[in-house]
Symmetry: C2
Subunit: 352 residues, 2 copies
C-alpha cells in the first residue's frame, strides 16, 4: 500500500470513529431523555449497561452517567440488612407499599454476595415481593453477579443514581448479613436498618461483628406467637448494648423495636422510626455531610483499589508475593522487611 | 582525571564500602550477642535504631532484625486498651509484678497516638509504674513519636521482636482508646484486654465503635466505693451485649469482670481470665493461626500502603486529586468515573 493510501485509510477510520461517537451520543441523548421521564425499560437497560463488562459499554455508561448526574442525589437511600430468614423481603414489601401509598416512587436494589455461588438467594425471582413487583410505582432489580474489583458496590451506587434520575425518590438497598456487603451498603445510604432475629438462647444468630454499631434503626423481627418473649428479651439486650457505644457525631439515639410481619405489630412503629431518622439527618445538614463523606470515600477506595490491583496482579509479582508469604510464615523474614524489599523492586521495575 | 585514576578511585570506593559493611556486620553481630543475653542497654539501643528515620539506620535495623528473627515469637503478647483515666498503668503494674513473681520477664511498650500533640500522656515518664520501672525483670519503653506511614505499628511490632529476643516472655502493649491504635494493637497481640469505665449514666464513656467486639477479656475498672454499683450494672450490660455478637472462630466466650486497683478486688480474677485466654488460644493452635494471619496482614498492609503512598504523593497528582475531589463534591463527576480517569492517567504517566 502506498503512503497516500495509508493516509486515506486512517482518515477514513477517523471519520468512522467520529461518526460512531456521534451515533452513540445521539442514542445516549435519547436514552437520557426517556429515562428522565421515568421510562422503566430505559432504566432497566441503563442498569444492564452499567453491569456490562464490555470495554465499549464502559464508555457508553460513563456518557450516560455524566448526562444524568445533575438529576441524581435527590432520593432518600435506605439500606436494609439481616441474615437470611430474618424477613427482609416481606418487610421491604410492606415498607415499599406504604411509601407508595404516601405518594413516593420506590426502587429496590439487592446486593447478594452469595449469589455467585447459590445462583441468587435474594430477589432471585421477584415472586417474594408479589405486590410490590407489580406496582407501577415500584422498580425491583436483583443483584448483578460480579466478581470484579469493588464491582458490586460500584454498580449498586451507579444503579441508585439511574433510579434517582428516573424519578424514584426512595431507594432501598437490600443485602444479606454476610461478607463485606453490609459495610459497603452502609457507606452508600442515608439510613441503615438492621433486622435481627432472636435466637434459641439469648444470642442473636449470625450477625457480623461491627454491623450493629453501624445501624441507624434496629428491628427484632418475627416478634409473634411463641417467639414474642424471646424477641422482647432480645430488644432489651440490644438496647442495653447500644448504650455502650460511643455516641455518633450525628447525635442520633438508635431506636430498637420489635415487629412482626405476620400480625403487623410494630410495622407502623418501624416506619415511624425510619422516618424520624430521615427527618433527623435532613434537619441539620447531616445527610449532605454523610453523602459528601461517602462520595470522597468511594473515590479514594476506588482509586486505591485500582492502583493496587493493577500493580500487584502483574504476573511476576503474584509469584514473588507468594514466595514472600511463604518466607514470612517460615519466620525467615519480618513482614515489614519483606514488604520494603518488594516495594523497592516494584519501584525499579514498574513505576518511577 | 585519567581513566585509570577514575578506575582506581571507584575501586577504592568499593573497597571502602565493603569495609564499612564488614564493620557494620561485626558491630551488629556483637549487638545481637549481647541483646540475646538480655542486656538492657543493647535492647534499648536496638529499639532506638528501629525508631531512627535515618536511611543508613534502616539498613542496620534490617540486619539486626534478620539476625534476631530466629529468636523471636516465643512470648505471650498482651494488648491493653482503654480511655485515659481508666487505670491502665496501675493495672499493668499489678499484672506485670504478678507475672514477674511467677518467674516471667515482662516488657511494656506503649502506643500513644496523642503523644505527638500532647507530648506524651502515657508513659511520658516511668513514674506511673513505680515498682515495675525499677524491677530487673521488667523493661518499660514509651511510645516512639512517629508521623510516618504505619510507623508506630511497625516500630511497636519490631520492638516486640527485639524484646522477645532479649528474653522477655510477656510483652504488654498499652494504647489509649482513641484513633486507629487499638485496631492496630489488636492485630499484633495474642490476647486483647479492654478496660472500661462505668459512666455517669448507663453509658460507658468514649469507647470507640468496633473495639468492644475485638476484646478477648473485658474489665470494668474502678469498681469500688460509690462507683461499685454502677460498675456492676455496666458489667451486666456489657455481658449482655457480648452475647449479641456472633461467636468467633476461636470459640472463646469473652469474660466480663469488674475490678478495683484500690482494694484489689477482682484483680486475681482478671489475671485468671487473661491466663485462661492464653491457655485457650495456645491449646488448639489458635495462637499460631492468629500470628500467621497477623504476619500476612501486616505484609499486605505495609506493601499496599507504601505503593499507594509512593504513587499518590507525587506532586502533580496531589493537586489533581484535590481537583477531582472538588468536582465530586460539586456533583460534576461520579466518584467512580473520577477514579477511573485518574487511574488511566496515572498508568500512562507513572507505571507500565
Amino acid at each position: 500500500m502506498s503512503e497516500q493510501d495509508n493516509k486515506a485509510q486512517s482518515e477514513e477510520q477517523a471519520r468512522e470513529r467520529i461518526s460512531d461517537l456521534r451515533k452513540i451520543e445521539l442514542s445516549i441523548n435519547q436514552w437520557v431523555e426517556s429515562l428522565l421521564t421515568g421510562d422503566r425499560l430505559s432504566l432497566a437497560k441503563g442498569i444492564t449497561l452499567l453491569e456490562s463488562t464490555r470495554i465499549e459499554d464502559h464508555e457508553k455508561s460513563t456518557l450516560l452517567l455524566n448526562a444524568l448526574l445533575p438529576h441524581t442525589g435527590k432520593s432518600w437511600r435506605i439500606g436494609i440488612t439481616g441474615v437470611p430468614g430474618v424477613g427482609k423481603s416481606t418487610l421491604i414489601e410492606q415498607l415499599g407499599l406504604n411509601f407508595i401509598q404516601n405518594g413516593h416512587k420506590v426502587a429496590v436494589l439487592a446486593i447478594d454476595p452469595s449469589s455467585r455461588l447459590s445462583a441468587g438467594s435474594i430477589l432471585g425471582d421477584k415472586t417474594r415481593m408479589n405486590e410490590l413487583a407489580v406496582n407501577d410505582s415500584a422498580f425491583i432489580r436483583p443483584s448483578p453477579a460480579s466478581d470484579s474489583l469493588g464491582g458490586v458496590a460500584r454498580m449498586t451506587r451507579e444503579s441508585m443514581m439511574l433510579c434517582e434520575a428516573a424519578g424514584y425518590d426512595i431507594i432501598i438497598v437490600e443485602t444479606v448479613g454476610v461478607g463485606q456487603s453490609e459495610t459497603e451498603v452502609h457507606d452508600m445510604v442515608d439510613t441503615f436498618l438492621l433486622l435481627m432475629l432472636a435466637g434459641a438462647g439469648d444470642e442473636l444468630q449470625g450477625i457480623k461483628r461491627g454491623i450493629m454499631e453501624m445501624a441507624d434503626v434496629i428491628a427484632v423481627t418475627k416478634a409473634d406467637t411463641e417467639n414474642l418473649q424471646r424477641a422482647q428479651q432480645a430488644r432489651t439486650s440490644i438496647s442495653s448494648a447500644i448504650h455502650l457505644f460511643a455516641g455518633n457525631e450525628e447525635q442520633w439515639v438508635v431506636p430498637v423495636i420489635t415487629c412482626s410481619t405476620v400480625n403487623e405489630d410494630g410495622i407502623n412503629e418501624l416506619l415511624h422510626k425510619v422516618e424520624s431518622h430521615r427527618i433527623h439527618i435532613e434537619s441539620a445538614g447531616f445527610k449532605t455531610e454523610r453523602r459528601k463523606k461517602q462520595n470522597l470515600f468511594w473515590f479514594k477506595k476506588s482509586l486505591e483499589e485500582q492502583i493496587i490491583h493493577d500493580i500487584l496482579n502483574k504476573e511476576d509479582l503474584i509469584n514473588e508475593i507468594e514466595q514472600q508469604k511463604i518466607a514470612i510464615l517460615q519466620n525467615k523474614i519480618s513482614p515489614f522487611t519483606a514488604a520494603n524489599e518488594l516495594v523497592k523492586r516494584i519501584k525499579i521495575k514498574y513505576f518511577n
